[in-house]
Symmetry: D2
Subunit: 319 residues, 4 copies
């Protein structure tokens, strides 16, 4: 899972992602409530028939970076009302295919990295995607397939596991593999943390700026992006959990609205969102920092989402 307190170092300072979400689209919503958004281009498209909303956010300069707490680059978010219909899954797979083509600039040789812990259901989406992929690299390498004979891309894949299982930073593992097998691009698939529960398992984010995988504490987690991996990175993420302080901070806000404009409440009401979040963190410390919130039917949703993403990647392999 992504670390929910993502920091991006830039010009020697950290700017904080104050929304505690891994979703650019949630950041945007949060920020728009308070200020005008500059340095960011946003376009939205509704696929009305299938109930899919596609939001493309482009962070174009440092002002956008500072506003959204994420580096310059492209962020495509797909939100779906109901994933259960076959035709909806097909449509999403098609869009994923197109976005991969765009963000990877048509890479012909890709490594898919399914991040996360396969033994913890909401963190298993990366390894699960790998189970449904069409792997081709060994067919080319062994000479079973000629690269010019077929309209098929070279695909390899790995589900390296998490640091508690491997003892290694995922970025070390991937960098080592990339140097030996020379893909043109890496597609990393990972579980994310969202801010609002109604985005869980209903949203797919694709971006070309990489990700920072994390297990909560996360301060020394290493980023996976073009700079650290040495090749283009397309990150595909699905929010499957919410951080505990996030829901507490939300509940607090509602509680204070309820209490009304009295003096005592004022104290808290005047806090900025970030200060409220820190307060929420204080309240739940020390027990909840390594915990997360996830729905009870997470197994069904992970299965559905992973099949859908694998379909999208497989479609890209065969165009």
């Amino acid at each position: 899972m992504e670390n929910q307190k993502e920091e991006t170092e830039k010009n020697g300072h950290f700017y904080q992602n104050s929304c505690h979400t891994d979703l650019a689209v949630e950041m945007k919503e949060e920020v728009e409530q308070k200020q005008e958004l500059t340095g960011v281009e946003v376009s939205t498209k509704k696929h009305a028939y299938h109930g899919i909303t596609e939001t493309r956010i482009r962070i174009v300069d440092e002002r956008g970076e500072a506003a959204l707490g994420k580096p310059v680059g492209n962020y495509v978010t797909l939100e779906v009302e109901k994933l259960y219909r076959d035709s909806v899954q097909k449509r999403i797979a098609r869009i994923i295919c197109d976005v991969i083509a765009q963000l990877s600039q048509g890479a012909q040789n890709i490594l898919v990295a399914g991040l996360g812990n396969r033994s913890v259901t909401p963190d298993a989406i990366g390894p699960k995607v790998m189970e449904h992929l069409q792997i081709t690299r060994h067919l080319f390498e062994c000479g079973y397939v000629k690269s010019d004979a077929l309209n098929m891309k070279v695909v390899s894949a790995i589900a390296p596991g998490v640091m508690a299982q491997t003892g290694m930073e995922t970025v070390e593992i991937l960098r080592g593999i990339i140097e030996k097998t020379h893909p043109q691009a890496v597609i990393v698939v990972d579980a994310l943390a969202a801010r609002s529960s109604n985005r869980l398992n209903r949203t797919i984010q694709l971006c070309d700026t990489g990700i920072s995988p994390g297990a909560g504490v996360g301060n020394n987690r290493q980023k996976m992006n073009e700079e650290t991996l040495g090749v283009k990175v397309v990150a595909i993420g699905v929010p499957t959990v919410i951080a505990v302080p996030t829901i507490i901070s939300d509940a607090m806000q509602q509680l204070l609205l309820l209490l009304g404009a009295d003096h005592a409440g004022k104290l808290v009401e005047e806090l900025s969102y970030e200060e409220q979040y820190q307060l929420a963190e204080e309240l739940v410390k020390p027990y909840f920092t390594d915990m997360f919130v996830t729905p009870k039917n997470i197994d069904e949703e992970i299965l559905m989402m992973s099949q859908c993403i694998a379909q999208g990647i497989n479609a890209y392999i065969n165009i």
Copy 2:
């Protein structure tokens, strides 16, 4: 997982388990803060060397039932500081063995039911226990083992899955199997909901009053006890999750302490615990009722706990 809002019907009225925990020991702590405990016998024993606390709660009459929101019967809770040492696991297994012997009144023919959803990590403890059990019934039935030749009990087991997977009430499935295979007692193993995070995956509760498995909404979930199953029931539960309203209600309480004795706060401060919980539920509705909080390393802890419980049951089989 157990339903966190357990209700027990008795004499035509419902008395509510106001603590939103499946653990008798947490109920007891909660109640003791407010009133004297009557109708309940409590004894505590420390296994100092192994860091295990064993609390035996006996609810002897209706006053005890009303106070703790649980039916008359025996509740044994084992709390452990660190489960990781081999010698601690052995000691716990030994205690589990003894408690099963006591609560099942020495049943010689048992069915173990591993409840829960094996595909959702914190709910998989029941099915996981089944993987490590020594199954013997078919050896007796096929004549490979003579009942008098060996000091071994007759053991069968089933992991029926949850209602979303089977479409059936677990109690229907178990009742059907019991009528065909005639065990003297059923040991049900299930994941529970706790109130405090430091009890998660560190506590084992054994009782002879059965359980009410639940998937959140749970109002028509059927109890599994001697009355509904027709044979003695020993329930073994491990708290692996916390309900979302529980942690919010806790955070709220702390927030109000922080806000101090001002007028606005007063409104909420004066609410009873139960009213606070209902307020917390309101605040998180409708999104969080089917969600739970669980630690990130839940896979390791479930593995450890399930092996330990299986060892305890296996020890009972061979005494």
Copy 3:
């Protein structure tokens, strides 16, 4: 997995399935080489575009029973060249749906039993099918769905595990559940043993005469059919393994052909198929009776087949 030495008791005597296959279509081929087939009706249909062969065998009387070693009833076999194309899977699912409708006589309330051991890959097809099923019974029972409002059947499911895991005969478990939940028909899904390797994971057999699950020794394995379960039974089987004596007996036959018409070889050449099989069994005893032969990529094939069968059952649920 089915027991490969299937015996059917009839009128006080056992007639032996001399072909050591669970597939009616392989029995038919075997028998046709030696004698005219009486008491059996066969029709074959080619779905040329999708590369599917559909063979319908109807055993109409005792002569057919004796010839094919299987009870009176209907056996539909689907053989597919390549399962990997999406359109082929859809076509098969459609046929499965139609055959279930026919063999279950349009049952509106069904229990699906996914037999086999989920921890042994070639035996996991039953439990795997269950993962992809649409379960509805609890929706009707809880009142979420009105039976007349929707064109949807009542479906429940169970993957009981094998006798080494449960200590119980699967037929005991199913009978108990059926008596409590009252389905009109049971669909049992199980792995089968085939005779020829090119039918492995390429064939689906549906029949209305039930099955005899088995773990090799199998002499006291209980049949699952309308008589023992008390409701209609539709058995869906996929051959995923071959018995060790089968492949040895085949190799022997070829070896003897190779040795030619000399005196020594004659001895063996003159043996009937059944005698050859017994000889093969002798040769591999005592070590290989509890072993089976299976392909190395069995995981991929089981995944594909189980999804396809689940699609077929789901289609039936919604017609």
Copy 4:
């Protein structure tokens, strides 16, 4: 799984492992029947109480290499009668610990590579071992543990999957990871092919010459040894399958004994073992080359074996 037709290139020529086993101890037995063994030192030790036989084979020069078809180095084989007793598992774990210490020359920083396909039961032993390992490297790297403060080794681990899942040679993946994380030694754990069924899941082989993982075809499978990985390699293997031609060739031999000294049989009887094996291969081609033979209770045996090996590695980590 290891490729059953292991070839070792040496001085420009291939010498064939004519026994079609991955076990040095089976090679030795085979060869001893025909010729005196030179260039090989053998010592055997019985742990009578625990029913464990420990055979140490040292191939000291090219004569030994040619005789046993394996490179110069040390091969320790543990054979156990019954693995089920706790005390036997402990004893084996202890021996494994000692042998690792010897073969790795006391490496303080190790990478454990659990080879094989976790989705195919008999091939899952490598990944299963990884589930029970104590991983420590990240604790040192993050500064939680000081290297001098604790008597604990630096351990990392990876279960890379097989080529059909990754599209990459396992040796490429491991080499990349080793170059980034700098272990002093690699412990590779893999499933092997045995020759005789009574060694399946009852034998553990440890050697310092690496292994050649394979998926049947195997001719371009790359070896994993000190030369290709750049660090010391300790290979731990458990035979979990038998190749199909192996059992057929055995059955053939017995059939011919049975047929007696007649002319026809002579033809085959006069074939060398290797020629017989090739004949067996011909007979089963083309269908059985990608198949294997494995016992029906393989899940239980893999679980037991993997726990036992993990215990052994964990013991080494803590000495």
